[in-house]
Symmetry: D2
Subunit: 366 residues, 4 copies
Amino acid sequence: MAIVEATAAPNLGPELDQLHRDLADAHVLPTWIYAPQIVPVEPKAGYRPYIWKWQRMHELLMRAGELVTPDRGAERRSIDHINPDLTDSASHTLATAIQLVHPGEVAPAHRHVAGAIRFIIDSGGGEVYTRVEGEKLYMETFDLVMTPKWTWHDHRNESDNDILWLDALDYPFVNMLRASFFEPFDGNQQPTTKPTGFTEKHIGRARPADWKSYPNEVPLVRYKWAETKALLDDMRGQDGNPHDGVLVEYVNPFNSGPALPTMCCFVQLLRAKEHTQSHRATTSTVYYVMAGEGFTVIDGIRFDWVEGDVFVVPPWSWHEHANGTADDALLFSVSDRPIYETFGYYREQALEENGGHQEVTSTHTP
Amino acid sequence: MAIVEATAAPNLGPELDQLHRDLADAHVLPTWIYAPQIVPVEPKAGYRPYIWKWQRMHELLMRAGELVTPDRGAERRSIDHINPDLTDSASHTLATAIQLVHPGEVAPAHRHVAGAIRFIIDSGGGEVYTRVEGEKLYMETFDLVMTPKWTWHDHRNESDNDILWLDALDYPFVNMLRASFFEPFDGNQQPTTKPTGFTEKHIGRARPADWKSYPNEVPLVRYKWAETKALLDDMRGQDGNPHDGVLVEYVNPFNSGPALPTMCCFVQLLRAKEHTQSHRATTSTVYYVMAGEGFTVIDGIRFDWVEGDVFVVPPWSWHEHANGTADDALLFSVSDRPIYETFGYYREQALEENGGHQEVTSTHTP
Amino acid sequence: MAIVEATAAPNLGPELDQLHRDLADAHVLPTWIYAPQIVPVEPKAGYRPYIWKWQRMHELLMRAGELVTPDRGAERRSIDHINPDLTDSASHTLATAIQLVHPGEVAPAHRHVAGAIRFIIDSGGGEVYTRVEGEKLYMETFDLVMTPKWTWHDHRNESDNDILWLDALDYPFVNMLRASFFEPFDGNQQPTTKPTGFTEKHIGRARPADWKSYPNEVPLVRYKWAETKALLDDMRGQDGNPHDGVLVEYVNPFNSGPALPTMCCFVQLLRAKEHTQSHRATTSTVYYVMAGEGFTVIDGIRFDWVEGDVFVVPPWSWHEHANGTADDALLFSVSDRPIYETFGYYREQALEENGGHQEVTSTHTP
Amino acid sequence: MAIVEATAAPNLGPELDQLHRDLADAHVLPTWIYAPQIVPVEPKAGYRPYIWKWQRMHELLMRAGELVTPDRGAERRSIDHINPDLTDSASHTLATAIQLVHPGEVAPAHRHVAGAIRFIIDSGGGEVYTRVEGEKLYMETFDLVMTPKWTWHDHRNESDNDILWLDALDYPFVNMLRASFFEPFDGNQQPTTKPTGFTEKHIGRARPADWKSYPNEVPLVRYKWAETKALLDDMRGQDGNPHDGVLVEYVNPFNSGPALPTMCCFVQLLRAKEHTQSHRATTSTVYYVMAGEGFTVIDGIRFDWVEGDVFVVPPWSWHEHANGTADDALLFSVSDRPIYETFGYYREQALEENGGHQEVTSTHTP
């Protein structure tokens, strides 16, 4: 620990210098010097916005597809987005990855405290499922599927095509808190103990009268893209959110809360030539470009994106989105906002100058 | 970022090596290698248990008392306990410090997102107060006083003696989340806008009928030591908690929840020769020794303590307490447990072997 | 008021008699006499179980169809089930009725504090809807539709056939509490302000991000029979509830609570020859026979039922159900249980003697 | 049942008359006639405001004191206020009574679903207590003491003087719902199992860490008059509530909710010559005059009151209070408002005409 050296203390004479050295030796820190560091005036993300371009990600993942097979220990064939300023995740709380499962493969069963969502990039059109707590959840392109914390899950591709999806997990938050537990299933796959569609059918509006015995905080349902798309189309004519265009949130069907207690999920439609106004919030968000072309300006830097790209907006960073084309653009996103709302830490600010638009000072070149 | 180098991957040939290098260059991480790192099998605190001995702390603080005066910018004359394995706090979520205010001094008014508690070590017996949101809260030895998040507060010593207290703040958690805001008050002191005892009188069992307009999540009351002591004395004859002796929790008088949404506070009585059994939890706790002599065994290391010492138990660390004398020992403690309970991350485990007692493998020498 | 006369006081001499008379004159009641009356040892319903036979109800409603037209003031062409021991409802908290709307008719728009549900007996197969807060909810046979408290609603039949449904309202509870307000809409019909299916589409699992501005405690969705039937079929092989067979509850999609804050709704399947065991609860329930033939024994009286019959089980009355045939029997029911659970007044008791079966002492003859 | 006769139906010809008769015979009610009766346009209390003058109540209770002794079966020596328009209570939901316990007497132990509060009129200055769940709660003049539902309780006067108090119970609401259970204790008195002051000491701001195992929804504490009076004095200089003067509510120390889930309790100070403005609410309230002289205008009728009087304001009745003297007037009151707020049935309306003052059309003469 090198506390005193780290900060330029006012020159208060040799006695004070000696005190500061002695404090450091005794593993205490002088608040009169460190206050600005330990209680920042406003959030400092400490990491940059970043974009991972699909073309490169896809190429790397395909190579992994030839060289690596998921099994016990390796667990998954996925590549995690690592912010250049962080150790093992895209944001300080959220980790995202792209996962590939070949026909016939199984990603082995395990469970962990970290909760996860899957957003299907390309289902291949066939029989692919994640199995959670003994129930198969079949997945189609742009479906969203939950794996709540500490639930057994494995993935299996029974089709003739690859399946690709975006994973998002809260393990950075869990690890911040030193709360991680992981347990491999005894055997590669867990048995299927419930018929397909069991939860969908049993945890709807009409439920078995004893449904309160249902064990999970989040029901094991799939958010079907067809339904979400119908809603977006229905909302297309509305004004929309000034910062996000037509914005839809996925909710927990049990209590209308966020999709997971730590993560909320959105899909947003940017209509032809739509360019939103900037705002910033205490939260971080990872975006996946489902369709279209456009750009997002984050703290003055323009990030151009096309289908398949993934980018992260750090906390308290100004950001605005633009669809540069005459077609729809669609962004899926996952945010750590529920954590902030739980503790009253959520703050949001709209950019008022310049019609809500940032000055673009540079363009990101991958 | 040097991902590949960080972990010894199985030797899978040059093509895989090249893939791993290319992934690192592209700022993605191969889950098949990093899974054990990002989803640990059980919590790893990543920092050690530690003790700060009172004699040394007191000596350093007295020297600071001669050399440093709290003012705008320096803000406070306090010394923060820094775990040797962490950057600026005692645990990953909790920061504690010892603060000294001389007669006649003012620690200037400000507010921050981080919440704070004060546990009075020695009030000096005179008129000393912290003023929160315009209300003076006078403090006596072993009282506990809250400063909920984002409330204006300054401290003033109007007595003829020094006052010393233990501060505990959640700024490490706030900073993990990049949620800190800080605002200095315009002027050194805030005005007193409410008579002394206002909240005490107005937010009791009988309340003004419009009390729901009260602005704070936590009422500005002081937990008087005399009342807490009476309860401890009353409970003295009970069996007590196997891990903590006679254990008392301070609750939020509004809702019986934890003292603050992120921190809970306890005082525990270890009776003559009482030696508790070990357990561990996913949470971290900082202890302040109010009275007595004894020791705590943390993950096999014995930490001897006397009055005034402060020590930290990291997450998932076995710990048991022992009062080595024929007199009472009293420990005040603050824990991050509410954060864990909020997200379902709280786990606790009792040591079953050896009658619940750890093997002591070493004794900590400060 | 004739208190003293109402109860046989012990003969305590002329002075006490005079005191009792004076108390009555002064409008006070001697607890020493009235305690058993005002604090009963166990619930006394004060009204009988009863059954309304469909054949007779249908005949009466058809005659009303020829003689009465719903309009402002008359409001509805429906006939309310009146327990012979009560003034204006089937149970002390619940009112049910059978309503008929002819092709082309409108039941005019109004709103009231009383909440309502509609269970469709026969939709006629065409375009019929209830319009709630500007949104048309089309109804098919055995669908369930909500009208939460204080929502504007009118009904319209645009088909070529009659529509018949069961209404259930909580107006007896509202009136007990003297909490009723009623307001006619200015005009016979309210305008349609939302496209058909609006709520269904907007308040699903994916929702407009600003959905929390949705004004009603209960979303305006229809519980489609096809979905409920699929669940019942799926549960058919289970053991079922010992008192109710295969039992399904309709829940509020916003919070998984009861269908309305005062009323919960169920459908139950009694399989071929299934005969349930008796229990009793502090609540009251009204049943509608959707299909099949059977009987229910209520406090020793056998009530035989066929399709279309409605019967009421008063509080704290033993009851068991039997399907006497080799086909399915289906009962829809509405209960006041949420009121009791809210205040901790819900109690339930299973009959333990005689294998859970009551002795039948008589058969009800309508 | 005589439905048809009860209402003057429009003359619609003999066929309709016959239908109405047949409906009545079949125990169904034509909504087209009864709608206004079953869904009133606004609340109709159905009972009058009323006042019970202390002088008369006291005289009657003293006579009861000579003639009646509380024992098992008679249970209590108390006289219940019976609204002249109701069967057994002051309001439709609330029952109040005045109770007398002589020196040396015991009111035997029992429990019931109905919850109760005691407001002490005159403690006699000595050792008198109600014992709830094994704990003695000593009572002084103007203290408020809770008996939550289904808790064992007996009363004992160990002093040399009579004790008099006001009881308020929710048995009318419990009985409306047919939810009453009553159980006598096996023996006249329950044993004392906890030391005096146990709950007071154990369920304060510092609590035994395992306090969540505390069995009651409401802690067994006494609201001491000295504390409430201090608050009222402190608030004396404020503007106060336009309808109620200086108004203080007693809250449940566990959750800041109402004193009991069904009843809330208030004390209000009407300062010298203070005359409040009228309002009305869907709830009912019973007032006890603690001190002073004044009057309350209820739906145009002036009720003059002096110390000791009890009066009831029915639902949706305009009411305003006036202190006619140059001294303080104090009113204790109990209201059923929590029931209404639970279901969203609470409505309140301020009188806007005539400066918020009703026209007095008559004066009540007892």
